[in-house]
Symmetry: D2
Subunit: 442 residues, 4 copies
């Protein structure tokens, strides 16, 4: 099948690029992927996939970090204005933007292979540098403060192409395929409520794919990942007391000084001898008028650990530092859990399968097996549940040339890398679900 | 004249309260006082005053901390929607909301007496506590993040009543009166551009009045103020570099850690042996997504000093601390001067005049002469220029019972205090401009 | 008497300089002034004064910040090695270095006039700059870390000369004089235990004198002081837990990070609208080995306030900040009160008396009356008690040219200033105790 | 040979314990191990080893962090008072406390096997807890601030026993053995100058041994280590300016606030995605008198990295943070490099050899192969040079039960663990140097 799939992927590349650019321009962050999700769902329905949507696909009570209802209603309107299908977005009301799409193959019984794709963009303001390709080519994000700076726009484009190719091989394959489109990867918020709703129930094999990341250049592939950082996401609100900054500063309770003491000292929490840890206050806002002792502050932060135990260490320390910083400035505070995920590790056998496939693709000049991931991905939650149920899972990173690091406002990637990513996924599914198990899978 | 003026003030009290509540509900901060200014200007025109408006009243090039043009245009529309006179707001385009109103008396030549009134509200979010009178009585601010937490709504109400009473005494008085309505007192931004446009040119006497403040209870009056804190207002923008907080935090340049180091250490600048100093970071915003090393931060800060030299000391230290905090985290930064004013002192003779008047008013049970102000007020800029030109100036604080301190989101005051404030101002102008200089002035 | 006293002082100037240099060379800090005190006491006994020493002069239980017994025994030995009288130091065992010396005049009954002098040096390491006069002239401190950087060496020299002159005028005067030599001024530790032992019991008039300070140049005199800063002195010990900094930093409890968070944030405590405040961590020591998470830290700090209430505000905030900083890093701590004094104000009549004397002395070209002191001096404690008992008190600053500010390692002063200081004190005592009350006192 | 060596070790255990306790009582830190080194050297000479001492064994110009000459002279006297051999300490003048001891075996030519032992104690104050065994048994450190809290006392005892046993097997072995006794391991200061002097020239095999550490319990052994943290040791001196803390704090330049800003922010340097990093300010001292703005501060710090590149990242960031903190408070500073070492990895073949030996010793119930070390040891410097010259090296950790973590003031270990440590080393040397290479080595 070698040439056939490569030719098919090449044929679809212009459509993948167009799709990626359209999504890039209309970037949507966690729980607000109404346009992205309805576009993807509509396309899969066209291809013959059966959709599971809305409350059937996302367990509402397990959702974390959801914007308020009124704002989400505005976002649905915005999405429709930007071209979303109103009948599909209607089912996603309240931020239920995750869904999955199933296709049974004609070749008889066989395993169920799930492919997971993330939908959301980052809370990053895209650069207005005229040399930045999205500006030059006119597909810079029109949604202020929202930018695909992690490549998920490309992920959706790739997964739709893979779904199209597999649908065209319906009679060559057995078993079934499921495409899981997950919201809120960036906050590690989307996986848990979809797992709870059943997205990996009955799944035997699962794959997830990321463009770039540790595969930093075109021609590279990292076939599996372990050491996903466990992570916890918190919002912290600090309440102090306002006062006139000139006449009576002593009457205030300075919530901003509490937040600054917390932020600085959080980053100074002792490194752990047992492995990697992280803490980042990603956003801080405090104060009102310039001449008012700040009575309020807000911090959006996250911790990470190479294992769940290490992340627990970080959250324990973080809670203590924040509590003490507020006590120091006589303020009170409240913490809201906004997301989080546990650690995980790809199945070695499936990693080896990916490596064999990659070795047979001339495009890959650097093939790495299992690698420590050193970051968080709530895909690890889905993968771990599949493994606990006796299945296998893998996480693949396909190299693309990049203009800047992930999450940077100048992030961009060479779109020709969409093709090998799609090809690897098609071949991986094919290798497990080809009609005749005895046949060589490449 | 004793009873006449008191009776007249009592008659106008309901109108003063209504005016104050209307302004409270439509609170407008610096350079955005389109509704407040057009309402006051319209009323003064009705009373026979001659207006100096727009670019004639505010020197554009001396304005500091002005919002951008597009936003101001939206604000004009908002003001008109809330009832502002479109023909007057048209002249205030670009934030030129300051104006003055002149009336020549019929009693012949005499001194020109200016009364200065501030128009703007605070950048404070008003409490939603149902026990808060503006909530109970339905005049809580409808402009989000904008609140009259310093009593300027009452100042406008008082000054309009004073203007009305004086207009009614036209033939009893000589010389002239000028009401100066100044925008942007809170940022100490409005006085300088109005002085530059000529608001105190030819002024012999000037008075400014504040409700409450150091006169903390009904029945108190502080007849003069010295030791206005000199002040400087800066906006600081810090530029770092984003990076993925999990995978490669070392690639970032953390602008938020720079801002936190700056904020904490700014407040630790050495106190000065020669007198009071202040520094307040009133607002800080930094970062983008939770999992992104913050590439940006913003601080709105102010310094103060009991003398201009002390404020200079503070700005010098502040610049060094900010520069070093940014260097510490490998960030760059830029500082924009947003406002500022110098120190000042009321004229002792005029303070004594106010005290004599107060002693003759039964409402005042506690009369304080000159007092250290311990806060900033850019009125001191106008007063100092009048004094430098050979005139006299005074700053009066009239006691009102308050629910919370100035600049607090629960700030409110007993509106019955509007009456004595108006009465003092009428009597003070009268005492200097009565037709027959030989007559006892009370 | 004008010329007689001036001539006498001039005659004694070489002895004053020699005395000052000898004391400078053998500088002794709080509770360790064995040599200084025994030298002064011995001289006063020679002059005919009656001594009150040891436990009779210093209430042991009111002593704060006393070094441990063993160390004090070593210090007594050191003092004897450096020339102290062993029989006198024996009475000062345990740090009881304060004493007073009484002389009754022959002119009959009259008021008791106390003159207070401080004995101790600073915990400052004297510069080794060869241009520094004490180095050039060979009287640099031989006691490491101990330096007269505040001029108390000169105070002792002046007071001994005054005592000598007054003893020589025994039959011209009535009433009595008492010289109070107080230890531990620098820590504001010595006044309270001497007052408790009775040093101002029966005292009608009291004077204290400081060289330099606010009288920054030769020819200046500040005749009285008010607004002595109230102050509190604390030692803080922080207890954490050591751990290997490379292998297991997470097992430590970092007492040094607690101390640093405390120190930085203490200096950031809000300035107070009602007057001057201070907080200084004057010394910090923490940690053990370079590769050990620091399990211990120590801070010597002080707060000050323009009034006792303001100092109370500072200690309250200080306690909270320290407690929270320790909680932040999971450490415990203990606070020991080491000293402190309250605010105070010179008696206006006595200030005026000093001014009259100064106006009659040609040396003074700049005479200032009452001035805000802006620093602490536990003399204010003695003065306040005298005033509460119906007496009068004054604090005089006599100008000297200085090489550097007080407490700086380069501090030095022009010794010719010792003469006018002595003359003012003699004349002040004389003016109150001259035999014939009707006679003009100058 | 199995039983013979075990019996011999058992026979020597009481002597090992006595030796360890004697050294524990007289703990000596870096460059001051005069007593420890002369005792060990004397014993080896007795056993027939040939010594290389003083300037022949330690390259003076490569020594870092050496105390001043005068202090070292005092320390030599102290060591002699505590029982050191004066003729040996004479050769160690100036801190040249490292030496090596060679023995050629009689079995003919063969490899040269070096065993490295560290001599120094920690800068830790030993606890006075009466339950602490050294207190109970009377061998608590008599040298204040100096404590064997890392087990090097045990290392010396073990190595002397090993040297004795090997000397007793002279005719069974071929080649040669060298015992390298290294000062200053704690600061990573001793290895470089000994390597430069030639301690590993001509060495084919090298072994180092640590009691405890990652082998946390009796019965455990970790047979090899990789990932030694590269490390850098700096002393930082900050120079500010003193001022009176009450009267004129603004005249000071607060070196202590600079040190606190540096310390807090150093610990907040971004974690690195490529591996473990550390930074620890192990000691900070600043300030003089309580009421003096601190003009001076000192910090002893270290950085570490899992690779030399990571340590370089940390030193680069550290230099910037310190520079900026000093600029923030207008202070200057100077940095002195006090020590440091690079990363390293045990030779896998030699690790496997240790594992085989351990499996044959019943005492070991938990045998771990190569493990990430996660801390620094300048042994890695010696090992790396041996490997670069074509030799093999290994670092072994032998489990002991401990009372508290390494570098803690309560550290103590079960002395019965000295026996298996000695046995492993004897067997390892034996396995490589046994007379008949064909013979099974266990």
């Amino acid at each position: 099948m070698n040439d056939a799939v490569r030719n098919k992927v090449a044929e679809l590349l212009p459509a993948m690029i167009a799709c990626r650019r359209d999504l890039h321009k209309h970037a949507e962050p966690a729980w607000r992927e109404f346009r992205t999700a309805s576009l993807a769902a509509g396309r899969l329905r066209e291809l013959g996939y059966k959709l599971t949507l809305g409350a059937d696909a996302v367990a509402k009570k397990a959702m974390m970090g959801v914007p308020d209802e009124a704002f989400l209603k505005e976002e649905v309107k915005r999405a429709v204005r930007q071209g979303a299908d109103p009948s599909l977005t209607a089912k996603m009301d309240g931020g239920l933007t995750g869904f999955w799409a199933d296709l049974d193959f004609d070749g008889g019984p066989g395993p169920r292979f799930a492919v997971r794709c993330d939908l959301d963009c980052n809370d990053v303001e895209e650069t207005d540098d005229p040399g930045h390709q999205p500006n030059r080519e006119g597909f810079c994000s029109v949604n202020r403060g929202c930018m695909h700076a992690c490549g998920h726009d490309g992920h959706v484009a790739v997964n739709l192409a893979v779904a199209e190719i597999l649908a065209g091989m319906k009679d060559e394959l057995r078993g079934a395929v499921r495409f899981i489109f997950q919201p809120g990867e960036e906050g590690c918020r989307g996986a848990a409520p979809m797992v709870e709703a059943g997205c990996v129930r009955g799944v035997d094999l699962i794959a997830g794919m990321h463009l770039g990341f540790q595969a930093g250049r075109s021609g590279e592939i990292v076939c599996g990942a372990k050491g996903f950082l466990a992570t916890t996401k918190w919002d912290v609100r600090i309440i102090g007391k306002a006062a006139h900054a000139g006449a009576a500063p002593q009457e205030g309770k300075n919530a901003l000084l509490a937040a600054c003491a917390a932020t600085t000292n959080l980053h100074a929490i002792a490194r752990h001898g047992a492995g990697a840890t992280r803490v980042t206050v990603g956003r801080l806002e405090g104060g009102q008028g310039r001449n008012v002792i700040p009575p309020n502050a807000f911090m959006a932060l996250e911790t990470r650990g190479a294992t769940s135990e290490l992340d627990d260490y970080m959250t324990r320390e973080t809670a203590r530092v924040i509590g003490a910083a507020c006590a120091m400035w006589d303020c009170s505070h409240e913490i809201t859990v906004m997301g989080g995920t546990k650690s995980g590790e790809s199945s070695p056998a499936m990693v080896e399968r990916v490596a064999e496939i990659a070795r047979a693709m001339p495009v890959f000049t650097s093939i790495v097996g299992m690698k420590d991931f050193g970051a968080s991905e709530d895909y690890s939650h889905m993968m771990t549940v599949v493994q606990e149920n006796g299945g296998l899972g893998v996480y693949i990173q396909v190299g693309v040339d990049r203009k800047a690091g992930h999450h940077n406002s100048h992030f961009d990637f060479d779109e020709s890398g969409l093709a090998p990513a799609a090809e690897v996924l098609v071949r991986l599914v094919y290798s497990y679900l080809r009609g005749n198990p005895g046949e060589k899978f490449l």
